[in-house]
Symmetry: C2
Subunit: 343 residues, 2 copies
């Protein structure tokens, strides 16, 4: 009567109830061969009656696994707070983890810390079995770091250097090319881009695709660099509009800069798209609802997260050669913010 609180049953309880040993219980619960069917049934019935559930903690200790994956986010709160990528990416990751009883550990790197510190913490605390490597930089030092830490990882897109980790790839370039071709077809000849910081692989991928497509069309590319924030988008836009011959169309490396740029253009008295065409990248929620609707490039961060989690789990499960995964490339979405240039 006293013991009503009944702590969680352990395999020892199950074993006692089924009249077998702990080892047998473990075998039965994991469906391993070597036990008579009758014994298995008896054990499973006992476990069921007791409502036994495995203990993550004990399992973690005995198999040296965390049953969790980690995501390190470095961006400062301002940047973090309106990036449309991560929340959807995380939802995709969770869709995989929840089916396996895994957890997602978020590690936010604080101001003044290096991103590497975040991974180091996750590794030292043995908090996760593997990590997602996002926002790859050129010659990304995190790859060597993770090798050194012995932490499995999957890279979001392919790094430019050597990498022992599988990559999940969502090619930004077809979408970028499509934007540029769309603008060229509309008749624009002075087309600018506001690129992301050149340290990032995906930023330069988009920037290079922009330049190459424009050059292939026989046009002169014009490039300003932003920092993916709205404030940066505004500044880059002002610089472009202050040129002696300002562009008639601007492609931004993400929607946040594009929407800010749209605001800056309107604030400068320009009408979009009549005076200036604007295109973004991401197809974030607001892109559809600002006025005019933002022409942009749509990726699928949810599937990206899903694929990344599946790939990383193969590695965590000990697969030898985990292949890269290629996702459908980003696609152009045409809305009202792009039109033919003023005559």
């Amino acid at each position: 009567m006293e013991d009503r609180v009944s702590k969680r049953p352990t395999i020892a309880d199950v074993a006692r109830r089924a009249g077998v040993s702990k080892g047998s219980v473990s075998f039965a619960l994991n469906g391993r061969p070597g036990l008579a069917q009758a014994t298995v049934d008896k054990i499973l019935a006992a476990a069921d009656e007791l409502g036994w559930r495995p203990s993550n903690r004990a399992r973690s200790l005995s198999v040296s696994k965390a049953f969790a994956l980690g995501l390190v986010i470095t961006r400062d709160p301002a940047v973090l707070s309106s990036d449309p990528f991560f929340p959807a990416f995380i939802a995709g990751v969770e869709s995989v983890l929840s089916t396996r009883g895994q957890a997602l550990v978020l590690q936010v790197v604080m101001a003044g810390e290096s991103e590497e510190d975040g991974y180091r913490r996750l590794a030292q605390d043995a908090r996760v079995d593997g990590v997602f490597l996002s926002d790859l930089r050129h010659d990304d030092p995190r790859i060597d770091l993770l090798v050194e830490l012995g932490l499995p990882a999957v890279t979001l897109n392919r790094p430019d250097g050597e990498s022992p980790f599988p990559a999940v790839i969502l090619d930004d370039r077809p979408g970028t090319r499509a934007v540029v071709e769309h603008l060229v077809e509309l008749g624009h000849t002075r087309i600018a881009q506001v690129a992301g910081p050149s340290a990032f692989v995906h930023a330069t991928a988009r920037a290079t695709a922009f330049v190459e497509t424009l050059t292939a069309a026989g046009l002169e590319p014009l490039t300003e660099t932003g920092d993916f924030t709205a404030a940066g988008g505004i500044e880059a836009t002002r610089r472009l509009l202050a040129l002696p011959e300002p562009p008639t169309a601007i492609f931004y490396a993400n929607d946040r800069m594009a929407i800010a740029g749209l605001g800056a253009a309107q604030a400068a008295g320009l009408t979009v798209p009549d005076d200036l065409s604007i295109a973004g990248f991401d197809d974030s929620e607001l892109a559809e609802y600002v006025h005019p609707g933002l022409t942009t490039v749509r990726a699928d961060p949810y599937r990206f997260g899903e694929a990344a989690a599946l790939t990383l789990n193969q590695l965590v499960d000990g697969a030898a050669d985990v292949p890269d995964t290629e996702l459908p490339p980003a696609q152009l979405v045409v809305r009202g913010s792009t039109a033919s240039p003023p005559v």
Copy 2:
């Protein structure tokens, strides 16, 4: 030479090196009394030389703690994908957790699941020592659930029913009142709001403050309900603008709806703020950069997260009576989207 891989040192290693027992090592490392100072020094030196770090897993198992806190987020892509609150809130939470070696576990509730399932998973898997309770609903069933699960929690704002959990409070009402008064001072007499779903405590807090302030000013409140998404903001805006006597000012319960409403108004041929004043709530990044800049209400989700983590940790650490924490209330930020009504 062979053993260069050198697995992590354990307290047994430290004990051997210091020439004492495991128990003594534990006492020394935890600063518990009962050891001679010389012995303590010897042990700490040995631990230091070996680079000993406690194993989370073993600690978790022996003290029955996860050293992690949990946040459950519903995977409504709309809510998740561009809500400016969570990322900043999370950064604030992490600023506290990182100093304590705790981790943040994110639990995303998948479509078709109830939010309660998320908490249940965290509790059953014993993944966390406590959880944050956000987006409180009226008579929120999660409170009883968490009591039943025995999971400590902190509520973001105060629930309307009984609650055994401490609350961290950021009062939305002063900001809401300030918006309404600002609009009234500008001379508006037909002021509408697009409220959030009435199931949420914070949504009705804002909605009620709106109605009360307007009524106190002798004006007739006009209310439409949105769902906090951009699409919902658009629809509510269209309904308002289609009225025989449309409002000259609209207050939205969040910036996403407001920015979408701004787009809808502009798409309908209205000039903001000349024909229609618009105000939001959140002061999200883009609020400053759309055109015209969005008059809105600024809260501080980073401090909110910080305070919530501190409060929750007191509870987790076993404090008996953890007091509520009151944060500075949300404040009005006036930008270009509000002006006097058309004459």
